[in-house]
Symmetry: none
Subunit: 188 residues, 4 copies
DNA sequence: AATGAATGAGTGTTCATTCAT
DNA sequence: CATGAATGAACACTCATTCAT
């Protein structure tokens, strides 16, 4: 792992624990046994670090939606749930920063992130609409349903801690039927 | 509305938009046409303001769970959903701060908030367990289901804006079947 | 005791314990169960309070030198020692402020205090010179001797606490021979 | 002289002239042509600066008592007087701060200083007791006598200014007989 | 007399960032 | 690459003082 990635990782951990504004550049540096100013040989600004973390998390999430298997909508939604949760669990700090701190990006960046998020939500909504067309889901408002499901999944970063009661696999196995049930595709 | 409530409201709006650490005391004061230091005739510290906001939001949420109607678990869960969403929608800034910024409270306060949150989640879990015992819900892991539902509901603060496509009533009407479906009590 | 004297007393106690600059007007007010601003119905400024305290202490000291008994220089010096120590002991807070905080007065006041101190020291020096002329003291540099004696006496405020090992009377009885010895008039 | 010592010196001068609380960090910085915040690259807090000054003064004084010559108690007391006065005169700002401002240290530090002062006073008291045992001093209350002598010496910081009527050597020559006289060891 | 709210300047301290070495 | 010193703006908070009530 290069120096740059080390910086992103240290910053990701700190941003996720204390928030972007409550984390000083010096603290990030100290994690790498550097002086505060020394980071600037590697980065241009604190905001760049935030943006890179958010971007990388966004990229991991977008892979989920790009690699869904063929199959009926129930299979595809479950794969989405599993993939989405895997990103959250495997990249807990990055995902936390992605959900919490993207607002602090300034405008050229913030809008870019907003569009990525919207596209992701839209992909889920379309997945749900497919299921409705296929007759396996019964959903009145697919947009609302997509927000509902994403909320349920995203909230996981609030309480999931590695080494807890549920491993990542059990988590996905537990969530899949809940999601399918919500979409009216529970059994049939 | 007394001066103190005005302060909490202005602070709540700013904290919810920019976050606690990115909001300066001077900015809160400016909203009330005051000098920065003048706030301290009314408050003891910035943290006190955060705590009061969080506490009041917590209180609003706890009322929801205390005023559930009699009836079968489906009715009660739907009332919970409706009540919970109403607090989020009516107190959007306070609720946002409650979800996002409580972590920045220092220890005597933070723990108190944590316990309120846990109690609230437990109440929902027990509601779900009731439904399972009554035979109206089919849920494998009530704890996980409670976290799932709460996540789906709480996430609303991320996208809900007054004057948007859905009013608070439609929001609740849309969410209720999604929640019941997730809990396996969709149509029985 | 009028309100004004209550204020001086409370301020004297606080100034002597924490120093002038470390004592806020609000703290003085709180001792009298008042709000900070309410003091200004009685005083013009914080500095006025300091000046009054210093002035009153100076007045008490100047009485000592004005009321010396007739007699030989040894008797008069001992009366000076006794009187000076009595002021320190009886007015410990005022005396402490007089020694410590007069420097913080601004110029019209500060110079006035300086002159009072100088006059007081000069009086002691002349007392010593009398004794030399009378042949009861043997002192090379009466000015230095006066400073020596005053220092020894004044320092008492640093360690004297009411209720300690020595009462005010024993203190004077202990100091008198030390002073006379220093002036070469110990036993004759 | 390193930057840190420059800071202590500038602070020592200002603290001694205006007092600790009336000296702002910005003023100390200005003496070194720095911005206020820049000091914090060198120090942790304003209080640390005060503590270092007090500690260094205390160290200089303690050397006096450790380096007394052999000889009878009169010789030793005079060496003490000479050494003590030399520290005051040579380190006038530090000594002034040591006498005046140590009270503003907060508790872990303050107690440490208190103990150093007490130990120093005890050393002088024991010196006086030696002299009594040797028969060269006649003193009723050695503890009081030690306080008397220390007060007389310490007070020098109140009026001594370099370039005044008396140089440091004459000062010591003038004080020695006064001290010996006070202790009843004047001539014999 | 006293209050309570307000001011405007100031406090010690932290911050992201720069730069000569 | 990294340091250590520096900047200048900002921070939360305190202060002596004012003033309408």
């Amino acid at each position: 792992m290069g120096r740059y990635e080390e910086i992103l990782d240290a910053a990701g951990r700190l941003f996720s624990e204390r928030g972007y504004h409550a984390t000083s550049v010096r603290e990030i540096a100290r994690q790498l046994d550097l002086q505060g100013g020394s980071l600037y040989a590697h980065i241009d600004s604190k905001e760049e670090v935030l943006f890179q973390i958010v971007e990388r998390a966004a990229h991991r999430f977008s892979e989920v939606v790009q690699n869904l298997p063929e199959g009926d909508a129930r299979v595809r939604v479950c794969a989405f749930v599993r993939g989405h949760l895997r990103v959250i669990v495997e990249e807990l700090p990055y995902a936390t920063v992605f959900f919490h701190e993207w607002k602090f990006l300034s405008e050229p960046y913030k809008d870019r992130v907003r569009r990525l998020r919207d596209a992701y939500e839209t992909a889920l909504k379309e997945l749900i609409e497919e299921g409705v067309r296929e007759g396996v889901f019964r959903v009145e408002d697919p947009d609302l349903a997509a927000k509902f499901v994403l909320g349920a999944l995203n909230w996981v970063y609030q309480w999931y801690r590695p080494g807890g009661r549920l491993g990542p696999e059990e988590l996905a196995r537990g969530f899949c039927p809940l999601v399918l049930g919500a979409l009216g595709g529970g059994e049939g």
